[in-house]
Symmetry: C2
């Protein structure tokens, strides 16, 4: 295989290969292709290559990594393999990496690169352009597209985009042309907030400051793009009722996969056990009117679907910053109207289903009208309840400090299913009392 492999073949097959196959495929590439390919890999792929190749070659590839990329690589491998990667870095990069390792992976500090263009406020445009060209040539900066103007104690005074630098007269000083209303973030700002900010303001990079306003590094837009992908994947996994996978689906081994899925599945199962308790209170009604059983799955799944729609909308709107906890009343008001309308619609469908079943096959006997009304009324109640629970739960969980994306699904499902059954049988007791019950 190795001899015939093109870089496109390898890229195509990559998600399905294990670590050894990846290394073998990588080593079969021609040198310059391998370098481009290495730079396009995710941190996980880069880490696998680095640990798989012989030590002298490792040095070659590790030199392609900026300090922020090297940190990402380390975070993908077990602690005992860190030394192999750290040893392959040159000394200045290793020092920078050690500083960055102090920050959390999912915060601005963990994303940032310390390699940005620094300048003094009294530098002229001409001096700055020559300085930037030199920095670019020596490949010591992550991006040359912004020049950061710092005072003697590394406090950020202003920013000049390279574009502005190129269009300003040569003899102006940076202090005269810099913008001072700079968007910045603290090192402990969560990665997804940094991503939302960069997206909203169309930035190529955002400076990261320490609490005293001293500049620590920059987060560049390419890191933000990766964060957006990862955050969306995490949220989607959580909304699907499991823990988010750390590694791509096809690369996740059975053990961790089982844990991440089985854990939530068991939590959901334990919650759903309450439905058996709820139903056991109505054994008498079920025995008298077995026909009620037929609509149990229909009614609770309608409540669950309505709840899942509402929860999904609210959770995503919260993630995008469109809805805040303090807006809860606006959300609840909307969802109450929506729940009644959706419930009313489904009630009509359920009502019609019972009457049609009776007309066509005589399935329900003389009390078909009452059964139809029971199903319809229960649907209005259950769907409205599901919609309300689905919209309130994420806000409530966020308020008390839980992750709404993870925890909403099981709570909503349990609340809706259990109280859905109670609503259904309570309606039945009223509607069918003296006839079937």
């Amino acid at each position: 295989m190795a001899d015939l492999l093109t870089v496109d073949d390898l890229r195509d097959a990559w998600p399905l290969l294990d670590a050894d196959e990846r290394v073998a495929g990588f080593e079969a590439l021609e040198r310059q292709e391998a370098a481009d390919f290495f730079e396009s890999l995710t941190a996980r792929g880069q880490a696998q290559v680095l640990l798989g190749v012989p030590a002298p070659e490792r040095v070659l590839w590790a030199r392609l990594l900026g300090p922020d990329d090297a940190v990402d690589c380390l975070q993908e491998v077990p602690r005992e393999d860190w030394a192999q990667i750290l040893d392959a870095l040159d000394a200045p990069t290793r020092r920078e990496v050690n500083v960055l390792l102090a920050y959390e992976e999912d915060e601005a500090g963990g994303l940032m690169s310390p390699r940005f263009v620094r300048a003094r406020p009294d530098m002229t445009v001409d001096e700055a352009v020559r300085y930037v060209r030199r920095q670019a040539r020596e490949r010591v900066v992550e991006t040359i597209y912004y020049v950061y103007v710092l005072d003697a104690s590394q406090r950020l005074l202003g920013v000049v985009s390279f574009r502005e630098l190129m269009t300003a007269p040569d003899d102006r000083r940076l202090s005269e042309i810099m913008r001072t209303d700079v968007t910045t973030v603290g090192a402990d700002v969560p990665a997804e907030e940094v991503a939302l900010l960069v997206a909203r303001e169309d930035l190529l990079a955002v400076p990261v400051l320490d609490p005293d306003g001293r500049m620590q590094g920059i987060v560049t837009v390419d890191d933000v793009v990766d964060v957006l992908h990862e955050e969306a994947t995490e949220d989607i996994h959580k909304l699907g009722g499991m823990e988010a996978l750390d590694v791509p689906y096809m690369q996740t081994r059975m053990g961790p996969m089982l844990k991440k899925r089985g854990g939530w599945l068991a939590v959901l199962f334990l919650g759903e056990l309450l439905t058996a308790n709820a139903l056991s209170r109505y054994e008498h009604e079920i025995a008298s009117a077995v026909v009620l059983t037929l609509f149990i799955p229909l009614i609770i799944s309608s409540g669950g679907n309505a709840g899942s729609q509402a929860a999904t909308l609210v959770i995503r709107a919260m993630a995008l910053g469109e809805v805040k906890v303090r807006d809860w009343w606006l959300v609840v008001r909307r969802e109450l109207v929506m729940g009644l309308a959706l419930g009313g619609g489904l009630a009509l469908l359920g009502f019609a289903r019972v009457l049609l079943g009776e007309a066509a096959f005589g399935s329900f006997g003389e009390h078909a009208g009452r059964i139809a009304a029971t199903v319809g009324l229960a649907l209005i109640g259950v769907v409205t309840l599901g919609t309300l629970a689905g919209s309130i739960m994420p806000l409530l969980l966020e308020r008390v400090g839980f992750d709404p994306a993870s925890a909403s699904a099981p709570f909503v499902a349990t609340v809706v299913d259990v109280s859905g059954l109670v609503i259904y049988f309570s309606v039945a007791q009223v509607m069918l009392s003296g006839t079937l019950l």
Copy 2:
């Protein structure tokens, strides 16, 4: 309100304001602040401002839009309002906008800007730098960070990043320093594929070519960031069992919201009606052993949860390009093992629940052991089935040309619930035959 409004207040309140309130808030801002704020708005917000302010002012703000932004604005407003926005643009921009309007909104052509830096291959580095500076000063290009080298018929020959331009000797020709292995896309490539490409290769912009290799424009990373946000939101909404909203949650009016949620809720409801049909086949069993009813919600919801986990994982992996339809066998093999393991785990929990209920309260009488075995075995079957259905359905739907994110949920739910009931009662018939049944 208007007099006291700061730009931060307005930004904060923005998601909750209607169009008139937004315009009033915007008009209360000081001029330069208003310009920055306008540029940071989404296309929808920009469109609302443009349509809300008087015509002479509209010209002022419309000039801040590049042709690609103007197209995005138009796509947010009804056709009859287009003239108001088009008339506010200057003539060259209006011409560019008319060209771009020919492309689909969700394809590379609909995202691209025609304003890129073009150069001839025989230009020297020094000439190119001076040319780029002039272009940047005149604000006629979207980004100066790549120089695109074209032949006389506008075919793309190569690319020089501005960084490379800054570090090359002044007298070299672009043809000598340009990279020729350029990543490009066709105008009809879907937006999400462009986004994946830009993300993977850490590009700031990607050139868009027509079928003859002539360069049409560039898609820049800031557009890609917006696409990633929108695509993730769409997928999340679809996975939540509804049509994706086009506008933010708090801005969506009740009518469209009802349609997007009610439509899928009705489809799911109609599918779930089959559960009533399935259950009616077992009326005799239910009447003889009411205790079986208690576990109906538990068993079908476990199958549904397992199916939703599998479907979510496979759909997201497909969206990220990690899993392709031709890999179906690898996926199915994994999920079969996973389904059996997860089902086995839940079976133990279910089995234990019945026996504990019997031990503590004598809930199930002399046949508790058989009931426990029925619940356990049914859970293995239902969870395995749910896991398999959840993983196969998205691949199957993609294969036949449907959107797996939209359509998987209702199909999986219906298949799992209906066949879950059949499995449960079939197991019961075997296990309880001659005792309870």
